[in-house]
Structures are given as structure tokens and as C-alpha cells.
């Protein structure tokens, strides 16, 4: 009998709840029972409430079990898990799990399916098709295809990727760079991490395609140091890509060169801002730069540079492989294609949900996410990271697309959605937004550097009931100054969670009795 192929994720989140222990228990318990298994450490399927999720290959397809506990592995094996038999953790065939069936996995097609570092798996599942097609196209044709797909930057700003690439392509220079922003610092986001751990070759392929498109022969991936697993996997993937000739002086024997380097951040949230990241890549303090000039014209080492998020770059190879229309045909209004939503915080079914734009926020939180993990009512939802607005339950009918969110002063950002139940005190969340900004500001702009510190103090006075009216006015003034007079999104958007908390949850700021001075 050939060994049974068993999948246990190597994803950092899966490991954080015991995937390694489950993997070793499987190897041990199978050996004790004289069953031969071949253990594959895959990426995560993104259903974190089911992690560690174990999949067993059967003649009918992969069958899933979860959440598996290392101590229960022996019992599961006795109950016929290696033959796909039903038991209390049996989830049926993986591909038929409704949470997965409802998704449109475009960028995340391979994450959780393959052994992330297997070249054979990658090519067998359509890997390199985008790159091979790009090698037959002119730079103008590649850029035109990306523009036609309607792909917009996945880092948060939603700028059309094709237009950015066109600018770099049109800027004459002997040297150009591709800089991939993998400094995923927003709370509530983990899609970049999962992609780098679950399908790192896709990012490598996307980087090469970007290089071919704009005439750059050198690329950097800037990963945050908080992601040690992603760093290890990405570094191995780059080594393997060099060995296989996907990178180096002649990409796939085409005679065209592309060198790719991995750089690791050092614990600075602001380095997720594109110009601060470029400074950091150049070896300096991560202080933001004034724009213009745009990085597309004068970026890394003052050369034209494509700066894109991990998911933007990773979405390009499948667009080229399957054609722009395959992506453009999905979505709503001017938000085309799919978005990798991340359900996080106090949510029952947390994880990744890749789907076309246009679903409502409520469908994501209540239906897909299953409401809160605590079982209490949802009170607030923060979309788009620490700089995104807090939305009340009455706004759950918002469709998930860039324009609908912008219309109410919120943003989709990176697609991270953090859910809070009714025990949350929104005045403390507003205070935290300022505290976070004070902690992470690069210090270049006064409104952000000092304003955030003053913001914490003013909110403290409001909470304590000291001269509430005057301090509310002061806070609004301060927010306005930060929005108008900060160079980057850190200072410019910190007021967004503060103001939205005040607007939608004023009662939380009004708890203290007016205190005597």
C-alpha cells in the first residue's frame, strides 16, 4: 500500500495553536500502528477556527479534519482517519466545505493546497504560466494587460496598478527597481503573511513579471521582522527560484536578468508607508519622504521604482495566465476582481475569505464570520487597519468596494476587518488610535508627532469629564490639523478611527460625571 499523503499546515497561525505538535503526533502514532504516511506541510486554508486542520488524501479527494488536538491524534487514527472515515472532527471533502466553496480564490488559489516550496507542485498547478506569457510580450503589452484587468493596489490606497507601472515604464532610466511592500503592520491583516508562507513562488513570479513590464532587473521584498516564518519560507523560495533559473542573469533561459533580494524590517510600523520603506531599504531611519516626486519617478536610490503590496504583485501572474478579463469580469463598480478579506478579532469564524468585491460588510461579519467569538452582539467593526474608521452595526449594509467606503469616510484598505462585541469601550479605542500614532510616528511632521501625544491627553480629559465641550472642540481642531498638515497616512488618517468613534459611539465618551476642576 502506498503511503497516505497527510497535510498539516506550516502556517504560523496554525503552528500557534499546535500544528507542529499535531504533525509529530501523526508521524509517531501512524508508525506505532504500522501505517505509512507521507506528511506534507502545506499553507493554511485560512479557516483559523478549524486549525490545526489536517487533510488526508483519499481516492475521492482530500478529506479534512479539524480542529485537531495532538493528544487526540491516536484516537482519530483508530477511528479510521487515514482512510477518510467520518468522526467527530470530520469536515468532509475539503473542496466541498461551504466556507471554501463560497470563495473565488484567484490570488489565493494555491495557498493551503500545495507544499509551498515544491517546484513540481507549483508548475503542476499553473505556476510560471503568467511569467512564460510575459516573456513573449512587450513591456507595453504586459502593462496594458494589467491595466485592462482593473487591478488596484492591495496595500490600502487602491491605486490602479497598471497606471503605476505605466509611469515607471515611461520614465527613462538606466536603472529601475521593483520594491515589494511586505511590511504588513496593520492589526487585523495577515493575508500577505499567509501568501508568503503558503505560496511564496507566486510572489517571486510576480516580481519577475513586474520587472519585465517596466524594464527593471532588480527587486526587493521588504518583510517585517514580526514574521519570522514568512522570512524563512520566502528566503528558501528565492534560493530555489535561483537554482531553477527563474531568477538570475537569464530568467527561464530568456536572456533577460532579474535579481531578487529579501530585506527584513526591524519593528517600525511606519515602514509600511511606501516612502519610509524606501528609506529603510536604503539603510536609513524610516522617515517618510514628501511626495512628489512619486516613487514611480524617483524612488529607491532616486530611481524609478514600482512599489506594490504583496497581494498586488501576486495577483499579476494569474491575470497574465488567465487573461485580464478573468479578473475584470468580477467585482462591483470601479472595484474589479477579488479582494482577500481578513476576518479578525472577536469573530467566530476568523480567517481569509477571498471573494469578488460587492459583498456587504454585514454578510462578511455575520454570515461568513458567524458573528462574534464571544457570542455577544457585534457593536463595532474596524475596517482597513488601525487607521480605518470604526463602523457601527447600522453600517453593516455597506457594500465592500473602495468607492462605497470612501463615500462614508471609511476605507477598505487592505481588506482587514476587526470585529468588536458590546463590551468594547470606544473611547478607549479612540485613545488607543492616538497612542498608537504617538508610538509609531516617524516624527517628521509636527501634527502627527506632537498631535498624537496631545490627542491622548485631550481624550483622557474628555473621558474624565473635564471641560468636556471645550476639549471636544479642541480634539476636532487637532484632528483637522493632523488630516490637513501631515505628509503621509499615519498622521492624516489617525483621526479617522477617532472621529468615527466619536460620531457613532458618543455615549462612550460621556460616562464620567462632570468632574470638578
Amino acid at each position: 500500500m502506498p503511503p497516505v499523503v497527510v497535510f498539516v499546515p506550516l502556517d504560523a497561525a496554525a503552528r500557534s495553536v499546535g500544528a507542529d505538535e499535531v504533525a509529530s503526533a501523526l508521524v509517531h502514532e501512524a508508525a506505532v500502528r504500522g501505517r505509512e504516511i507521507r506528511l506534507v506541510r502545506n499553507g493554511s486554508r485560512g479557516m483559523f477556527w478549524l486549525e490545526p486542520l489536517v487533510e488526508v488524501t483519499t481516492p475521492e479527494g482530500r478529506v479534512a479534519y479539524g480542529p485537531v488536538d495532538a493528544a487526540g491524534v491516536g484516537e482519530l487514527l483508530d477511528a479510521g482517519m487515514l482512510d477518510g472515515a467520518p468522526n467527530r472532527l470530520w469536515l468532509g471533502k475539503t473542496e466541498e466545505i461551504s466556507h471554501l466553496r463560497r470563495q473565488t480564490r484567484f490570488t489565493f488559489a494555491r495557498v493551503g493546497v500545495n507544499d509551498p516550496l515544491s517546484v513540481a507542485d507549483y508548475e503542476a498547478t499553473g505556476g510560471l504560466a503568467g511569467l512564460r506569457r510575459a516573456l513573449e510580450m512587450s513591456p507595453e503589452q504586459i502593462v496594458a494587460e494589467v491595466t485592462a484587468s482593473g487591478l488596484r493596489g492591495r496595500g490600502g490606497a487602491g491605486f490602479p496598478t497598471g497606471i503605476k507601472w505605466q509611469t515607471v515604464l515611461d520614465t527613462p532610466s538606466d536603472l529601475k527597481f521593483i520594491a515589494c511592500n511586505a511590511d504588513e503592520g496593520d492589526s487585523g491583516t495577515f493575508a500577505d503573511r499567509m501568501l508568503m508562507e503558503g505560496d511564496p513562488f507566486l510572489l517571486v513570479e510576480g516580481m519577475v513579471v513586474a520587472g519585465l513590464a517596466v524594464g527593471a532587473a532588480e527587486g526587493y521584498i521588504y518583510v517585517r521582522s514580526e514574521y519570522p516564518d514568512a522570512i524563512t519560507t520566502m528566503a528558501s523560495a528565492i534560493d530555489i527560484a535561483y537554482l531553477n533559473g527563474w531568477l538570475g542573469p537569464s530568467v527561464l533561459g530568456s536572456g533577460r536578468a532579474f535579481e531578487l533580494y529579501l530585506r527584513v524590517g526591524a519593528g517600525a510600523y511606519i515602514c509600511g508607508e511606501e516612502t519610509a520603506m524606501l528609506e529603510s531599504l536604503e539603510g536609513r531611519r524610516g522617515m517618510i519622504r514628501a511626495k512628489p516626486p512619486l516613487p514611480a519617478i524617483a524612488g529607491l536610490f532616486a530611481k524609478p521604482t514600482v512599489v506594490n503590496n504583496v497581494l498586488s504583485i501576486a495577483t499579476v501572474p494569474p491575470i497574465l495566465a488567465r487573461g485580464a478579463e478573468s479578473f475584470r469580469g468580477l467585482g462591483l463598480g470601479r472595484s474589479r476582481g477579488t479582494q482577500v478579506f481578513q476576518l479578525a478579532g472577536n469573530v467566530k469564524h476568523g480567517g481569509i475569505f477571498e471573494v469578488a468585491f460587492g459583498l456587504t460588510l454585514g454578510e462578511l461579519v455575520e454570515e461568513i464570520g458567524g458573528g462574534t467569538a464571544s457570542g455577544r452582539p457585534v457593536r463595532a467593526v474596524q475596517v482597513g487597519g488601525p487607521l480605518g474608521a470604526y463602523l457601527p452595526v447600522s453600517r453593516l449594509d455597506l457594500p465592500m468596494d473602495y468607492e462605497s467606503f470612501a463615500a462614508v469616510g471609511a476605507m477598505i484598505g487592505h481588506g482587514g476587518i476587526v470585529v468588536f462585541d458590546d463590551t468594547v469601550d470606544m473611547s478607549l479605542q479612540a485613545r488607543f488610535a492616538m497612542e498608537f500614532c504617538a508610538e509609531e510616528s516617524c516624527g517628521k511632521c509636527t501634527p502627527c508627532r506632537l498631535g498624537a501625544v496631545r490627542g491622548v491627553e485631550v481624550i483622557d480629559r474628555i473621558i474624565a469629564g473635564v471641560e468636556r465641550e471645550a476639549n471636544l472642540e479642541l480634539l476636532e481642531d487637532l484632528c483637522e490639523t493632523m488630516v490637513d498638515a501631515s505628509l503621509c497616512a499615519m498622521g492624516g488618517l489617525t483621526p479617522s478611527p477617532v472621529r468615527s468613534a466619536l460620531e457613532h459611539f458618543p455615549e462612550d465618551f460621556n460616562r464620567a460625571k462632570a468632574a470638578p476642576l
Binding site: 504560523a12 492589526s187 495577515f190 530585506r263 519593528g267 517600525a268 531611519r285 476576518l343 488601525p386
Partner: protein, 134 residues
């Protein structure tokens, strides 16, 4: 920065005397190198405890009680964030987001991520970290 990472990986911290050496080798001023070391939270001039425990205080973790966990961590270890226990066993740090937001609250112990950490689980992690290095 790759050089600073390597220095810290090897020695556990960046000795102030290394700043002079690096400045000389890279043809930079000492202020430039010092500025970079002090800008980034990862780099430290002093040796940390034998174990480094990072508690996430991002919004997603807050929604699942990270602030209570953070207070518990400080009380349990008797140090503030950034502090090291007197016996040199554990350095406690705060961090904003470890990318484990669907399994909050998250804690990282010497680069190993842990999810759904409550006070009891935290105490276990501390006990294990202290044992391992003792």
C-alpha cells in the same frame, strides 16, 4: 540594516562600540548609525533577558482581551513593557500585530507564535521559558 540584524543575531544586542566600527566601515557618521539603531524597536543596545516575550496589543487582539493580558503580563513578571525580570530570565515587550489576528490574543516567545493566549496560558509560557533557559 542587514548588518545590524546580523550583529544582533550573533550577540543578542548591538554593543555601543559596534556603532563606531560600523560607521568607520560604511563611511558614515556615528550619528547616522546611532540614528538607525535607535529608530527601530528591534535593535537594542543592552542584552535582553534569556527569553523575549512579546505581547500583541493590536486592535484585533484587544477585541479578545489583549489589554487585560498585557496588564496580567506586567504584573506576573513584575516589569513594564521593555523591562527585563531581575533574574534576567525574561524580557517583556509590547508589539502591534503579529499577523495572527483570527486567533487573538497573540503572543510571541523567542520567535515562536502562540494564539488564543489567556492569563493561564501566559503563565505556562513564562514557566516554560524560564525552565528552558535555567
Amino acid at each position: 540594516m542587514p548588518i545590524l540584524h546580523e550583529v544582533q543575531d550573533v550577540f543578542g544586542y548591538i554593543d555601543p562600540s559596534a556603532v563606531d566600527v560600523l560607521a568607520e566601515a560604511l563611511n558614515l557618521s556615528r550619528a547616522d548609525v546611532y540614528g538607525v539603531v535607535t529608530f527601530y524597536k528591534d535593535f537594542r543596545f543592552e542584552a535582553p533577558g534569556r527569553s523575549v516575550i512579546q505581547v500583541c496589543r493590536g486592535e484585533a487582539c484587544q477585541s479578545m482581551g489583549a489589554e487585560q493580558l498585557a496588564r496580567h503580563a506586567c504584573e506576573r513578571l513584575g516589569v513594564d513593557f521593555g523591562g527585563t525580570t531581575p533574574d534576567g530570565a525574561v524580557t517583556l515587550e509590547q508589539v502591534f500585530c503579529l499577523g495572527n489576528c483570527a486567533l487573538s490574543p497573540a503572543v510571541m516567545v523567542d520567535g515562536r507564535l502562540k494564539g488564543r493566549v489567556d492569563a493561564a496560558c501566559f503563565d505556562q509560557l513564562v514557566a516554560r521559558a524560564s525552565d528552558e533557559v535555567a
